[in-house]
Each structure stands twice: as C-alpha cells, then as structure tokens.
Amino acid sequence: MDQGKISPWQLTLLVMSFTIGNWIVLPAGTEAWQNLWLIMILALGEGLVFAYLSLLLFRRFPGKTLFEIFALVFGSVGGKFLSLLFLWFFLQTGAAALMIFVTLLKTTIFTATPDMALLVPWMLIVIYGCRRGIEVIARSNEPLIIATIVLLFISVLLVLNILDPANLLPLFNLPLSDALWISVGIAVFPFGQNVLFLMILPRVNRRQKVTGAVLKGMIGAGGYLLLIQFLTVGVVGKVGEIYVFPSYEFYRMIDIARVLTRLELIPLLNFMTMGFIKIMLCLYALAVGTAQVFNLRTYRPLVFPLGALLLIAAFRFAPSISQHLRFVEEVNPYFGLFYSVFLPLLTLGVALVRGWLRRRVTS
C-alpha cells in the first residue's frame, strides 16, 4: 500500500481542489440562479456539519481508512459490502468529472476532436500521477490550486467594469422549502463528496490537525465557488441561467477597452487543473479501496485497469450532458445524502453502540 505522507496544509489544498473540481464550470441548483450564491452559504454550513460528523469517524479510528473502519465495525462480510458500495461512489464521481471535462472541451474549443483523442492522453497522465502515490498528487496540486486562486483574483479586477449589481436582485424570491432542498443538493455535491478523503486521511502526518485541515479546505473552496457564482450572476445576468457552462460565458464577456477580450481560456484552464486533481483523487481512492477490499499488498497494478474502467464509465453513466444534468437535479441529492451523510453516520452510530456494549460487558 501507499506509504507516502502529506502534511495537513497539503490536505487543505487537496480538499479545495477536489471541491472546486467540476463545479467551477457546471454549478448545480441553477434554477435558483441569482439566489444561488446565498444558498451556497447555507449549503457550505450544512456541508461543514456533514463533514464534521464524518470526521468523527476518523477520530474514533485514527490511522484507518474508511474501508478498514467498515471491516472493524461491520465485520468482514458487511464491511466488504459497504466498501463495494463506496467503490461505486468513487467511480461515479470520477466518471462524472471526466464526462464534464470532455463535454466542455467538445462544445467550446475542440469541436471536431474525437472524444478518445482528448480522454486517452488525459487518462494516461491521471494514471501516471496515481501510480506515483498521494505524495505526488498533493505536491502537483500545490501550484495548480495557487494558479487557480490567482486567476480568480485577476478575474475580479477584469470584470469590475461590467459588473451590474442590479443583476443580483431580487434576493430571496423563491420559496424557503425550494431553497432548502437546493442547499441540500449543494451540500452533498460538491461539499459532501469530500467523504472520499476518508480514504486518504491516514496518509496525513499530523493526525490531530486533520479535522481543521479538511474544514479549512471546504471553507476555502466554498468561498471560491461563491465568488465565481456571484461574479457570473453580476456579469451575465439572468441570461446565465440558460447556459450549460455559465462561468465560461462570464469570461467570454470580459472586455477591457476592446483589447483584453476572449479570456475563455481561463475557466478552461481552471477546470482542467482542478478536474485533473479531482479525477486523480477519485482514481486513487478507487484503486486503494479495491486493493483493500481484496486484501492486496499494493494498489499500483490496479490503477491502469481501473483508469480504463473510469473512461468507459464516463460514457456509460451519462452519454449526454442532458442526462448528467438530470442526474444532478433529480437523483444526486438522494445519492449524495446516502453516501456522504447516511453511511458515515450509520457506521459511527454502530461503532458507538458496539463500543458501549463492549464496555458494559467488560465492566
């Protein structure tokens, strides 16, 4: 198994990149549009609570991955069953990111390039990074996330002249129940997907700092996404609602004195870097998890075949962007709640009850 170690700070940055991931170009809950950034504040709060609860699991079983915890709590068979369920989650998350990656490029700049010509080299790099282990993933993430943040601050300066605050009105024009439901959807995607890090936390060198590091990363990513959404609504206005990739359109509208225009490469770059880290982490969790389920000594031989599987899954799960959008809107809230809230809480509950029973028996 991977013996690499990462620092809590690297973990924070990884959580940020993973959360920003594909949301940066394809937000969910766009039916709330000009209220979306407000709902995101609420969703971040919910997401932090969910994440804190999941992290309690790691506190109770320090140094264990999620799958090892499952085995300890539910026994060998039950643990394996839950682990397999979770493998599906990693596969689904990675495949969705991969699918959005190829759709974005296909509809914007590489309109005639075959999918495989984009995906195969991309996956090769992902596989290469994955085989190198978590240390390499974390190190390569550092410059990428810093570049992404710097580009955001530059964009803020670039859009000051076209930002129209009136576009942000009216606030709170949708029923509270709708707002709450949308916020749950966002709390599980993208924030809830961080449950994947339960596979990676044992690789952090200072365990007592893990909880803070994950929550800090989520807050950072939440702030980042909120700012992007705020700018998109302020610049593109109500029209942004009809776009598949609103932030892409927002960069297309930048116009500084008719000289600095056509900056749509910025969101593509942001997504390609953040999506790269996200897909790599998904594949890593998938490979490490599979190795643990089958009690393998190392995960490395699995990376290549699982990468190929991810590639196929990207086309199988959502052959078109419309199907993906429908999944995000109709299924994902339940899907996400099941994986990032229900299963960790169930495990934690069972672990607590069993511990309590054991203490009663021994005393």
């Binding site: 009216p170 509208m253 116009d255």
Partner: protein, 407 residues
C-alpha cells in the same frame, strides 16, 4: 530510449523507459493541435451578418460580409492607398436555409473557405424578419460557440446586403464602420446600443419590451452612406413601432444611459437658440405600486455647459444661466414625455418599469405581472429634472457681443 532508468524498487508492468516511450508516442498525434485546425488562410472571416426572411417567406436568407484580408492595406507614403484598382476589401455572400445554422453551412457551397463567425461585429436583422419574431434567429448566435453575444444587434428596413454594400466612410469594412457608429453613441445619445445578450436579458423579463437601433441608407451626393437615426420597438418578439431620436433620448434618460450629447433650447431673452453640452447625467428611477396602479418617479440630474449660442444676448450671467437650466430641464422633460407617450401608445414597457418592480418588490410584482400592460399604460409618472450649467466655454460674452447702450 538509450537510457536505463532506475526502477526504484516499485512494481511496474512496464519498465520506466518503455512507459516513457509509450507516452511520448501517444502524445505525438496531439502535437498537431485540434482536429478542426484552421489557419487564417483557410478561413473566411465574417465581420458582419445580415439576417432576413427567405425568398418565399420561409426559412432565412443570410448575408455575410467576409473580409478579403489581402485587400486591406495601409496607405503608402505617397498617400495612394493600397487599394488602387484592386478588388473590394470585402465580399458579400448570400445563403438561404430553413434555419440560421443550415444557412450558415449552405454558404460554404459558394465559399472556397469555411465561414468563421467569431469575429462578427454586427448582426443586422431585416424588418420583415423582425415583424415575424427575432428569437429563433438569435438562438443560433447564443447556442454555438463561434459568434459572440457581446456584439451589436441592429434592425434595418433596407435589405441587409445593401447596408453592407454601402460606403463604409473612413473605414474599409462596413461592419466595422457600423460597430464604430454604435460605439460612438455617447456623442449624441440618440441611439440605444443593444448587444445580443442585452436583447436576451430583456426578452427574459416577460413584460419588458426591447428596442433595437435601426440603420438605413442615406444618399449623399449619389453615394450610399449609412445612418442610424431611429429605434425599433420590439414587443414580445416582434417589431411593433418606432422611436424617433427625441423619443430614443427620452428612453435613454429613463434608463440612465445618457452618456453625453447636446440639448438645444430657445435662448432666454432673445431670438435664437442655445445648445448645451451634457457632461454628466444621472437618473434615479423608482417604481412603486399596488393593485390600484403604479407610481413611477424619474429623477434626472444633469451637469452641462454652454456650447453654442445664436443670439447676441449674453447668456453667461448667473441670471441667464438659471433660465437656461430651467429651459433645459423643460426640454429633457419633453423628451422623456415623448418616449412615455409612444411607449403607452404601443403598450410596450421599453423602460423596464416592470423589471424594476420585480427586482425590488417581487412579492407585489406577482400580483401585477399578469395584467402589467394595463398597469403600465395607466402608470402615474412623475418626472423631475435638475440641471446645473457649470461652464460657458472659453468666452464669457457672445461673439456677436454688443456693449449695453450707454456703457
């Protein structure tokens, strides 16, 4: 590879060198760039696009103004220009099709190069098409990645191809000349520039009406020149009426989009006129309402200066300036009034009063939305204009100054 790599004790299916070689080989095809790679010499750069109804009233007839890049040259040192005896710097191409997209593709049947729409500066829509609905044509512009939604949208009563064939004035390409005409709107504030995205934005607010500038051909000394001097009102999605320059200015006042321009008033205390230049204009709009009707308050604040006068009366005294301010406010109020009257006649909410109400009081708006036309026509509008004349130019006395008698 000629290099034996350190295995690092890791379990690998390939040797390090072999893996590297494989990756390099796989990356080679990508070095060519994207599949639909197109270099400048294989592109037909479209700068202007005209859209009109097809010959039998079905489908669309598109006109493209394509640049002949080689014909665009800067004048030589002898001032002879690069184009002497050469071909036009642009080529007009027409194509028809049942949808805009198909018409764009059909154009390639006549063009040796594939049309490239990313540089399109203006989209000119024929009035026939505007009367039957604009959105179906815009869909293509917004959906496809090449055209840009921040480019200008115009109407014309003439054929779009005639507009593109007109004299481009100081420019070489008509489309660029038109784009510059629109961008200079602030010098007069008698045109309301509209981008594709602005049109969409207004269209999305169901009760608001759009306006589009209208370009037409004006014959000057036998040459066909271009002029933008009217504004079309698009209600729903269809052209229903026109605003003259005065009404257009009124619209701009309400929307706080007056950027400059001049206002001419009757000079106080004498024959003749005085023209004031606008330095700064600021409008505050408030809309309030309930089921019994809506109240609109328009507060305009203007800073201006005296730019020209045709009387011999000294207008630069404090007394006279006060009267100039009053008269100017009167003219501005008239302009706003004219726009309001026209909008009420057409029952078209070109000012976006409904949009304002929706943004600031969406609960109340829900009750009014369905009958907004009635509320809009019956709206009580209160216009207040405050003018400050701050400058009189370089001279204090009129050039045709006559010293007061006995002075």
């Amino acid at each position: 590879m000629g290099r034996t790599a350190d295995q690092g004790g890791r379990n690998r299916p390939f040797s390090k060198g072999g893996l590297r070689l494989l990756m390099i080989l796989l990356l080679i095809p990508l070095l060519g760039g994207c599949w639909d790679l197109r270099e400048l010499d294989s592109l037909a750069l479209v700068f202007g696009m005209g859209l009109d109804l097809g010959p039998q009233g079905d489908g669309y007839r598109l006109t493209f103004e394509i640049v002949r890049a080689r014909q665009i040259q800067t004048p030589g040192p002898d001032g002879s220009g690069g184009g002497g005896g050469q071909r036009n710097p642009y080529w007009l191409l027409q194509a028809t099709g049942p949808t805009v997209f198909e018409a764009v593709r059909n154009a390639t049947l006549q063009s040796s190069r594939r049309l490239f729409l990313s540089h399109t500066q203006v989209f000119i829509i024929g009035e026939e098409l505007a009367k039957s609905g604009i959105s179906p044509t815009i869909d293509f512009i917004v959906r496809v990645n090449e055209p840009r939604i921040v480019k200008w949208l115009l109407l014309t009563a003439d054929e779009p191809e005639q507009i593109f064939a007109a004299e481009p004035g100081l420019e070489q390409i008509t489309a660029l000349a038109i784009a510059d005409l629109i961008q200079n709107y602030g010098i007069t504030s008698k045109i309301k520039p509209v981008r594709v995205v602005d049109y969409l934005e207004t269209r999305m607010h169901k009760t608001s009406a759009n306006t589009l500038p209208i370009i037409r051909i004006k014959e000057t000394a036998g040459k066909k020149e271009l002029i933008i001097d009217r504004t079309g009102v698009i209600k729903g999605d269809k052209l229903v009426g026109y605003l003259d320059p005065k009404e257009t200015r009124g619209l701009l006042w309400v929307q706080d989009e007056v950027d400059g321009g001049v206002v001419t008033v009757d000079a106080p205390g004498g024959e003749g006129k005085a023209t004031m230049e606008l330095f700064n204009a600021d409008t505050k709009l408030t809309v309030e309402g309930n089921e019994h009707g809506i109240q609109v308050r328009i507060e305009v604040k203007v800073r201006s200066g005296l730019g020209a006068q045709t009387t011999s009366v000294d207008l630069s005294t404090t007394n006279q300036i006060e009267r100039l301010e009053k008269r100017q406010a009167e003219v501005i109020r008239e302009e706003i009034g004219a726009a309001l009257t026209k909008a009420r006649d057409l029952k078209a909410d070109i000012f976006g009063f409904g949009e304002y109400l929706y943004r600031h009081d969406h609960r109340r708006w829900k009750g009014l939305e369905s009958e907004w036309e009635r509320y809009f026509v019956g709206a009580e509008v209160d216009v207040s204009v405050e003018v400050m004349v701050e400058e009189v130019g370089l001279i204090t006395k009129p050039t045709i100054y006559r010293a007061p008698e006995g002075g």
